[in-house]
């Protein structure tokens, strides 16, 4: 790593760890104090290291300085002293000295507990994703704004409103009890799922950032799987799904950042290791009685790791989509299911069903109709692709449809 990348790198990996430990210590109502302490620590690091050179162990330096700053803060802040410090002293240490535990175990535990605090239905799902990116993943407002295609101020406002809500609701930073954990875990998993999708399907042109979002979602999911209380079949199913999807990450864009459709991908570029990890977690998820939407999607993902177009593959995918739609409808699922219907049963049957969907403001809907009509009626097919083009918003989607249209000329 180049020296000039050190602070951004440490910010990415260490900010979230220290924040979680301090938040856990202070309670969510004092999240801003934790943020100030960690920001000050990084500022001091950049100044000190700039002048005197790097310490032997920069991470240990950050931990030590943030610890000292915290103790200092607790000593000098009267209100805090009266209200919080007494409680902390009573609960944690005998010596009267505040303990700030930055061990790997406490960092992981604190991050996991923070995950449950942030992924709480008192704030909207978008807010949950936003705060997760900031507090659990160490993303700055600018990066988050870039991923959501909005501006920095909007993200600041959103985050500050969300933190206010968590503060007012006095959300505890802890793992829910074993009886409640499955219920709460569903919210956490849904947020991680959306965080991953944001990276995988986002229309942002920043491909490095998008890949980071996917990796972060997987890292947080891994924390869940590595803890005995949250290592549920659903957690494993979601992680498996993410592994299968991301195995195609490098194969699905060309050197110009343009999307390569599944059928056109070079399967030699699929990441075998991730596919194997996905299979491992899929096996781990096959426990208990409940088949969740993550199980169904992960199994569909597994079939897609087999490039070959067999009847068996598409029949299985169709049946999985049939079940998925019965659990939860979404336009994307309906469209994918209709494509599988064409592959498993017949194009004519799929056209009849596709025309009933009437998703007439969705460009993927017309792209699907265009695809289905291709072998039946070129004129109708082309007109559907043209409608799709007029509805598509992102550059990437437009390019993909343009390529489909150009095939009519040759």
């Amino acid at each position: 790593m180049q020296p000039q990348e050190l602070i951004p790198h440490l910010f990415k990996t260490e900010y979230r760890k220290i924040i979680s430990v301090l938040c856990k210590l202070f309670g969510i109502e004092h999240i801003e104090i934790a943020e100030d302490i960690v920001s000050d620590t990084f500022l001091l690091a950049s100044e000190t290291w700039g002048q005197k050179g790097l310490p032997n162990n920069p991470t240990a330096w950050l931990y030590a300085v943030s610890k000292n700053k915290t103790i200092d803060f607790l000593k000098h802040n009267k209100i805090f002293n009266e209200k919080i410090t007494i409680e902390l002293k009573n609960s944690s240490v005998v010596s009267g000295e505040i303990e700030i535990d930055l061990s790997e175990k406490n960092i992981n535990d604190s991050q996991l507990q923070m995950m449950f605090a942030i992924c709480n239905p008192v704030i909207s799902v978008q807010d949950q994703i936003c705060l997760s990116l900031n507090i659990l993943c160490g993303f700055g407002a600018e990066e988050i704004a870039d991923a959501f295609l909005t501006n920095k101020d909007a993200i600041y406002k959103r985050m500050s409103r969300a933190k206010d809500k968590l503060r007012v609701a006095k959300i505890p930073i802890e793992l829910p009890g074993q009886s409640e954990i499955n219920n709460r875990l569903e919210t956490v998993l849904t947020t991680l799922y959306l965080l991953f999708s944001e990276g995988y399907y986002s229309s942002s042109q920043n491909t490095t950032l998008r890949k980071d979002l996917c990796l972060e979602a997987m890292r947080l999911n891994l924390l869940l799987v590595e803890n005995a209380h949250t290592n549920t079949p659903e957690s494993n199913a979601l992680l498996s799904l993410m592994c299968f999807h991301s195995s195609r990450y490098d194969a699905r864009t060309n050197e110009n950042g343009q999307l390569i459709l599944y059928e056109e991908q070079d399967e030699k570029l699929w990441n075998r290791e991730l596919i194997q990890r996905g299979e491992y977690y899929l096996n781990e998820s096959a426990q208990g009685k409940n088949v969740s939407k993550f199980h169904l999607e992960a199994t569909i993902g597994w079939w897609h790791t087999h490039k070959e177009d067999t009847h068996e593959k598409w029949e299985n995918i169709l049946q999985l989509y049939n079940r998925l739609l019965q659990i939860e409808y979404s336009p994307v699922t309906a469209l994918n299911r209709t494509y599988a219907l064409a592959k498993a049963n017949s194009v004519n049957e799929a056209i009849v069903e596709a025309e009933k969907l009437q998703l007439t403001n969705n460009h993927f809907y017309f792209a699907l109709l265009g695809e289905l009509y291709r072998s039946i009626d070129k004129k109708i097919s082309k007109s559907h692709f043209l409608t799709a083009l007029s509805l598509a918003k992102s550059v990437g989607d437009k390019q993909t449809i343009q390529r489909k249209l150009s095939q009519f000329e040759s």
Binding site: L318, L325, Q326, Y329, A334, E353, K356
Partner: protein, 115 residues
């Protein structure tokens, strides 16, 4: 959108030859594909239940008899719930229901909304 119940009646006399495993598999696919068609339009409210042919009928004099109380071939085999703008639209959804291919029928009833 209103909700409707689709009630399936088989036309079985109870003496039919049991279907082969392949036929059963094929029937299962027909049902799943048909329900998938409805769900893809976001019109499936509940995938409902299948009902066993065995039953009891309790009459007002507390006499319990083996049911079903109607002709076997009119027995209710199952139901699902759908949503649609009108009962005609709901009737349209029932086209392609596999029970029709087996000589059975579908009855559609409007669910009376509570509010």
């Amino acid at each position: 959108m209103n909700e409707f119940v689709m009630i399936f009646r088989n036309n079985s006399t109870g003496n039919d030859q049991p279907p082969s495993p392949e036929e059963m598999q094929a029937r299962m696919k027909l049902w799943q594909d048909w329900m998938g068609n409805i769900a893809a339009q976001n019109k499936l409210v509940s995938s409902g239940n299948r009902l066993a042919s065995e039953g009891r009928v309790i009459k007002s004099n507390n006499v319990i008899t083996n049911g079903p109380y109607v002709e076997m071939k009119e027995a209710i085999g199952g139901y699902i719930m759908v949503r649609a703008n009108s009962i005609d639209e709901a009737a349209e959804l029932s086209k392609g229901c596999p029970i029709l291919k087996m000589g059975g029928n579908v009855e559609i009833r409007t669910v009376i909304p509570m509010n």
